[in-house]
Amino acid sequence: MDEWGVAMTLLLQEILNGIVVGSIYSLVALGLTLVYGVMEIPNFAHGHLYMLGAYIAFFLLTSAHFSYWPALLGAVVVLVVVGLLVERLVFNPLRKAPQVNAMIASVGVMLFLEALAQAIWGPNYLQMPTPYGNVLHIGALSVTQQQLLVVVAAIVMMVLLNLFLKRTMIGAAIEAVAQHREGALLVGIPSGRIAMLTFAIASGLAALAAVLVTPINLLFPAMGTMVIMKAFVIIVLGGMGSIPGAILGGYILALAESIGGAYISTNYQDLIAFAVLVLILSIRPAGLFARRA
């Protein structure tokens, strides 16, 4: 291969890698932005719900001998229930308290979940088995089946979520509450139930993302902290509460990291991510897709 070919291969490979990571970022950020939109809570425990989803799937795979897809589904179902419980037990009682109380409660949930996971599964790194470990070569590019799966599954989920929000009554109700809480109440939308539902969907999405990506990475109690910071950057970048913002923001951040890593320095990957954030905010101070003023 000549020099030009090598350069192109690297660029395409980095775009591919960026899309894989971006898919995960977007799925996690989607849940976070949904919860913020409806409940106006920055849910710091979101990354730890993601971690819990991965552990549930790991348990189903290794101890209950499920195969991959049933385990994925099982983890999503369990996390939907966990999401409902967290909303009812932690956030619902605080709905009339100042917003900062709910925020602190979410930090509490985060610390609780991490300690719980460490107590049950120990602090060690675990490897989640996957039937999709083979490598595919497309020209000079290489990608594992699992990485492709992440990309395809994320797109399918985003389409489904969009259909749900735009084409169903419940989805429309969620959007209505996100747009104007009091107004939604006035027209008879039960905001309590919508909050529960939103939390459940967000937790389910987190579990899905976790089970998709964990076979590529590792499973450990602190894994949630590394995605949550990125997810917050994404939803600020995309516009707090905005769904297209979360999706686009996820891909932008991941591509900036992989391409920036390749052409500037891998050492500054996180710095590049924040530089992108500053750049976008200086042009559009409320994020890419700001909600109504």
Binding site: L10, E14, P42, Q147, A222, A262, S265, Q269, D270
Partner: protein, 405 residues
Amino acid sequence: MKLAQKWLALAGLVAAPMMLVACGTSGGGGNTATGGSGGGSGTMEVDIGYTGPLSGGAAFYGEDVLNGIKLAVDQINKSGDITVDGKQVTFKVVSLDDQYLPPNAATNAKRLAQQYHTPIIFCPHSGGVLGIEQFNATQQPNFILAAYTSEPAILTKNDPLLVMIPPRYDAYFKPFAKTEMQKFGNRLGLIPTNTAYGQEWTAGFTKVWQQLGGTVLSNNAVDYNTTTDFSSVVSKALSEHPDVLFIGGPSQPTALVIKAARQQGFKGGFVVMDQAKFESMQGIVTMDQLNGAVGVMPTVNYPGPGIQNFVNLWHQTQGADKTPNSENALNYQTMWVFAEAIKLANSTDPKQIMAKMADAIKQVPAEDQPYGVTGITPQGHLTGPVIATYIDNGQYTKLDIPPIE
């Protein structure tokens, strides 16, 4: 104005959990017994301190170190062999979580020394050790700092109460570089962990590589703990066509880097920093993928006099499926040295214990030396045979590491 307030609030929100996490250091132990004080007639309790990561991303590493110390303490207490002033000593480990942060390590060490009067405090990371070295021998109460880090810089601080446990990493540079250069070629790609330890290792190793006539390619340091997918950084490093990749951080993420490199078609060798252990990579990479890698020898293959006994003991106490690693074994062995030194000194005074270390090393039963310990340098470094490995055809072949002190 409203917007600015919102942003300010948001910045606060993002920072808040970080700070909470940082403050949330939880104390282990929690008892108020004081080390060195007399128990009933004929017995006394001595507390042994530990500060290291017990929560967060490095918790597994801290637990490994702690479990080695605890097992030794159990065995020593069972033997009933250690006495001071005719009183039988019972050791007890008091552990505090520092979340891998140097400032927390220093605070914990002060608390252990003042509240528990621990004559010895273990710390398993170079940042914490360098912080604690500022005061462990100069401020009252003194204590011996048992440093489980391979960073040679800790030996340069003239700390008379320092004991460095593992082999220093600079001893690996030349043998590793020579082996890999000979087998694969002289272009070295770099994907090290971006910690202070990782960057020091990288700087030292690349210098030796260049002295031997090799070419060093760009430095693609990454955070091994927070990277979601290593494909990106591996693609970057491989685009420069290295013959050998220099890698290493925590074992399991290091295994992911090896796996990603092999998946992207890399056929060359690996130089693996001593933080990463091959035995902990099992299940993530195959031995086939590890072929051509040079790194530290797995503990079970170490030729120390007590290795078999230690492995059996580990299986009995921790579970038959648990494989002991060097964190477990080296700290276990070192705790035995300390116990013998306390016995010989007939005191729990740190200076007197330190004075007896060289003699104590000879007293440690062979069966309790999984790695073998032969002496201690004037700077406080424990010496013993150092063996690394080159993985050839799925087998761990022996690579002797000559001492550099």
